[in-house]
């Protein structure tokens, strides 16, 4: 009765849902918000009021094309087009926000602040998810994913360098804290790298020992599990007394900066949290190596060291890397909280912003932390996928 030709088929529900979400957000919520100064909450301003006509038209056009794509029969070309269109849309949304901010603040008092609004976040997230959806449908490998992410990041960075975002409140917060920001970022990375590095140095041998002796496993994991259940703020607090006592008793330790607050307790807490995933994944990874393979290796005259280095370690490596990934992402998040005990890092801005009720200052700390976590996750995931493919099975 209905001919196949005349019928409209929805081929990509994900894309359609994202488009609907974006449309509703643009219609109902502010794209940016306008506040007379940084401490007052802002008034929402819609996309079409805030951004230039060409930007609005461009966003509408790209959105419409993506909606149309949801109705077209799937194919490689279509998915490539979807990825490209969504990536351009994402960059255009970013540019539109910057352009809206500079238009709204033109001629206004210097205290006026233009922040990013709900519609911006939803639109940007929808565009990003549309890129991810296209890559998934393409079955893109790790290299393709890396290149796509790199291209979008490069586009955003180019806009930032060109000053496209300078009028946005978050950029103004950054501008007034440029030196502090660089410091905080490098401190944050150092906290994460230091604690993850130490956790690996301590946790890897413990994991090997746990894999070798099942009797060690239950007490070891009991302790490590208990550590994981302590709330991070509580652990940071709990470490103040023992570490300051230690520093008071041993002046040499105090001289190299170890004390109840600062970097030392932060590193200790981050290492304690990182131990469980490192130890567990090391033990699980090694235990997962087929015992027949080890038996064959022994029977052919490999020494235990050769079996460990040439057989067990490479076969367990994907699981070890998965543990490293969990730990790194977790440490990036937890290190934000470490600012509470004076360890520095991106958390400094978050807590300062919370204290001043300045959301953009919170974002100045939170966004780079999220970005770091995503980047670390992505890189380690890619590495682990490449290794897994190489090791096969």
């Amino acid at each position: 009765m209905t001919s196949a030709r005349g019928r409209i088929n929805i081929h990509n529900q994900v894309l359609l849902t994202l488009a609907a979400g974006g449309t509703v957000a643009v219609a109902a919520a502010g794209f940016v918000s306008y506040a007379p100064n940084r401490l007052l909450s802002g008034q929402p301003i819609t996309l079409w009021e805030a951004a230039s006509g060409s930007a609005v038209t461009g966003i509408g056009l790209l959105g419409a094309m993506l909606v149309a794509a949801a109705f077209m029969s799937p194919g490689k070309t279509l998915h490539y087009a979807q990825a490209a269109l969504a990536a351009v849309l994402l960059l255009l949304v970013l540019a539109a926000a910057g352009q809206a901010a500079s238009a709204l603040s033109f001629g206004a008092k210097p205290a006026v602040r233009i922040s990013l609004g709900t519609a911006f976040w939803i639109l940007a997230a929808s565009a990003a998810l549309a890129v991810v959806d296209a890559l998934q449908r393409l079955g893109a490998g790790s290299v393709a994913r890396l290149l796509t992410a790199g291209a979008i990041v490069a586009g955003g960075a180019a806009l930032a360098v060109a000053g496209a975002f300078d009028a946005l409140s978050i950029a103004r917060e950054y501008a007034s804290r440029q030196l502090l920001f660089a410091d905080a970022l490098s401190r944050h990375v150092a906290l994460v790298a230091g604690s993850v590095g130490l956790a690996v140095v301590i946790g890897f041998p413990l994991g090997v020992a746990a894999a070798r002796s099942p009797r060690l496993q239950s007490p070891l994991f009991a302790v490590l599990n208990l550590l994981q259940t302590i709330p991070s703020i509580a652990l940071f607090g709990l470490l103040i007394v023992p570490l300051s006592t230690l520093a008071a008793a041993v002046p040499q330790l105090a001289a190299i900066g170890i004390g109840g607050i600062g970097v030392a307790p932060a590193i200790v807490a981050l290492v304690l949290y990182a131990l469980l995933p490192v130890v567990r994944n090391t033990a699980v990874g090694l235990a997962g190596v087929d015992s027949a393979v080890i038996e064959a290796g022994r029977g052919m005259g490999l020494t235990s060291q050769q079996i460990f280095r040439q057989v067990e370690l490479p076969l367990a490596l994907p699981v070890l890397l998965a543990g490293l990934r969990i730990v790194t992402v977790q440490a990036i998040g937890l290190a934000v909280v470490a600012a509470l005990i004076g360890a520095g890092g991106l958390g400094t801005f978050v807590f300062e912003g919370l204290g001043q009720y300045a959301v953009d200052l919170v974002l100045l700390g939170a966004l780079p932390a999220i970005f770091l976590a995503l980047a670390a996750d992505f890189i380690l995931q890619t590495l682990s996928a490449v290794l897994r493919r190489q090791l096969a099975q």
């Binding site: 027949a292 393979v293 038996e295 064959a296 052919m300 005259g301 057989v311 090791l391």
Partner: protein
Amino acid sequence: MIEIDEVTKSYGGRPVVDRLSLSVGGGAFCVLLGSSGCGKSTTLRMINRLIPIDSGVIRVGGEDVTQIPAQVLRRRIGYAIQSIGLFPHWTVEDNIATVPRLLNWRQARVRDRVTELLELFRLDPAIYRSKFPHQLSGGEQQRVGVARALAADPELLLMDEPFAAVDPITRDALQAELARIHRATGKTIVFVTHDIEEALRLATVIAIMDSGRIGQLGTPLEILEQPANDFVREFVGRQGLGLKLLSVRKVSDRLRGGEPAEGEPISLDASLSEALSAMTARRADRLPVCDDEGRHLGIIALADLVR
């Protein structure tokens, strides 16, 4: 080649191998046959010291194995197991080259040896050299496993139920290949199995094991015709005994020289069960017999099978 002298191994006070003595001559294909838990695998694994010996002496090539460093000993003895244990992250070439590389062979020599072994197992080197274990069938994996055991050209090969986990058709092919390779290389092989048919097919000498001791040691024919005790008689099984006897006797034992016969000839080396099978299939009571070069030698007659 191997002398096992009064060797004992106990776990928790219970002897698994009990004052066992066995001597295997060079070039023999010795099958340790028995049900599970009889100590056959333990005996095998004491030869290359994967399991330490409690008391007694094992000598390989006249040398007490405990006087040779374990790794050195194992690199001199080929070892293949039921679960194969190929290194999943290494190619077929790397797997086969394991022991030669441990022995620091030159690269070119290793490569030539891998080619030679792949050809011996009828795996095209151009195709199989760079494959990974998961790309191989079960039978191919076990061929590579045995090739790896042979890689450094050991005088002695230990095999622990290597074909127990493959399907019957593949097992049949692998057994035929191993028999061919044994004839071609003259290696001494100690082979553990619980499968009497497999033992009868491959062995030059069978040691039937029971509770850590040897119940009987003899050629397949001796084991079938003169079982030493009730255990051996039970294990060999009265059912189908006649067919088993036919399977270990050769056409050459019953050849009638000079007489002519029609049809496809059967080889002098074929077993009498193969001859019976051919006669039944062709509805014939006699078959012509030829040697390896295809020369007519005589006939084998149905009446002679039951003589």
